[in-house]
Each structure stands twice: as structure tokens, then as C-alpha cells.
Amino acid sequence: MRKEATALRNALILAGTMAGLVLTLALIARYVV
């Protein structure tokens, strides 16, 4: 039970980070480069 909850939490953190990376790259491409 705890194992599944931890795996879900880790997956959510990774997915959020990836979305944040894409957004940051888009902002860099739009406003900086």
C-alpha cells in the first residue's frame, strides 16, 4: 500500500518536473533566444 503510494508520488513529481522543463524551455525560446 505504502509502496504504491510512494511510486505514485514519485511519478507525479517526475511528470510535474518534465512539464516544468518543457515550459521553461518554451519560455527561454520565446523570450531569450
Binding site: K3, N10, L14, T17, L21, V32
Partner: protein
């Protein structure tokens, strides 16, 4: 809260120790059991987030990556590349990008590795022993150790959980 570590020789002993912890008033959320892959963990609370290094590695990577990103951004501001006007926003964005990338990469590596805090127990776990960790208030430490010593002499007391190593 302090985390006490015990090594049980087998699943049966671990189960009876967990039952003793619960009857002593320790809630199941504060008890963690870690065994080698393939061990029957029924009636044992699994180690959950304590089993691997995902979160400590993620935060470490995000910190290092973020710092590196900000430094790159600041140096780009100080020495702007030809033809590009660099503002303070770039340092912020590169900091965010570095934090994300660092966290992502080190987190995935950390998730695949066992907890660096529990490395000293790795060989015992591989031999089939069960690591039990219990979070107890500081004032209950002695009574918890005494409980195990008197009721479960086969279980060895391994002291407090070691801290995270800075370099995994």
C-alpha cells in the same frame, strides 16, 4: 522522533515484533519493514519511501542543478554572447531549468538505488534478514528497546538510523 533500527532473523520474528510494537501503542504508520526482493511481506508494513533514495537524490540534484543554472545565467549576463541581449530573466529561467533537469536525472538514478542511509544493512537484508525501523518519541526509546530485548531476544538492536550520506 527518533528512528530505531532492528534486524529480525526471519519473517516470523519480524511479524511478532511488529505486533508487539502495535500493542505497545506505536501506530503502523511509524513502523517500516525492509526485506530482500521476493520475501512474503504480508502483515508487515513495507518501507515505502524509505526503501529507495528518490526524494533525497531529487532534492540534491535540484539544488545543484538550480545553482549551476543560475551561475550560467549570471555569467551570460556578465559576458553576453555576441548578438544576444541577456536580461536577469535568463538567470531565473536557467536556474529553473537546471533545477528541473538535475532533479529529474538524479531522482531517477536515486529511485533505482537502495536507500543510501540503509547501506550498512544491505548485506544483512541480502542474507534474508528483515530490517525493522520504528519512529518513536525520544522518551519512549528505552522502553521500545527493552520491549524487544525481553520479548524478542532473536532480534538484534542496530541503534538509530544512520544519516543520509552527502555523496550517495
Amino acid at each position: 522522533m527518533k528512528r530505531l533500527c532492528f534486524l529480525a532473523p526471519d519473517v516470523g520474528n519480524a511479524r511478532s515484533a511488529v505486533a508487539s510494537f502495535k500493542s505497545a501503542g506505536i501506530p503502523e504508520e511509524q513502523i517500516y519493514a525492509l526485506a530482500r526482493f521476493g520475501t512474503d511481506m504480508e502483515f508487515l508494513p513495507d518501507a515505502g519511501p524509505e526503501a529507495n533514495d528518490f526524494l533525497p537524490a531529487y532534492t540534491r540534484g535540484a539544488g545543484i542543478g538550480g545553482t549551476a543554472g543560475v551561475l550560467v545565467g549570471l555569467s551570460a549576463m556578465a559576458f553576453p554572447p555576441a548578438g544576444i541581449i541577456v536580461g536577469g530573466g535568463l538567470a531565473v529561467l536557467l536556474g529553473l531549468f537546471g533545477a528541473g533537469l538535475g532533479g529529474l536525472l538524479t531522482g531517477m538514478v536515486g529511485a533505482g538505488a537502495g536507500s543510501s542511509k540503509l547501506r550498512e544493512f544491505e548485506s544483512a537484508i541480502e542474507q534474508g534478514r528483515i530490517l525493522l525501523m520504528v519512529d518513536v518519541p525520544k522518551e519512549d526509546m528505552d522502553s521500545t528497546v527493552a520491549l524487544i530485548r525481553t520479548q524478542h531476544p532473536a532480534i538484534s538492536m542496530e541503534g538509530l538510523e544512520p544519516p543520509h550520506s552527502l555523496i550517495p
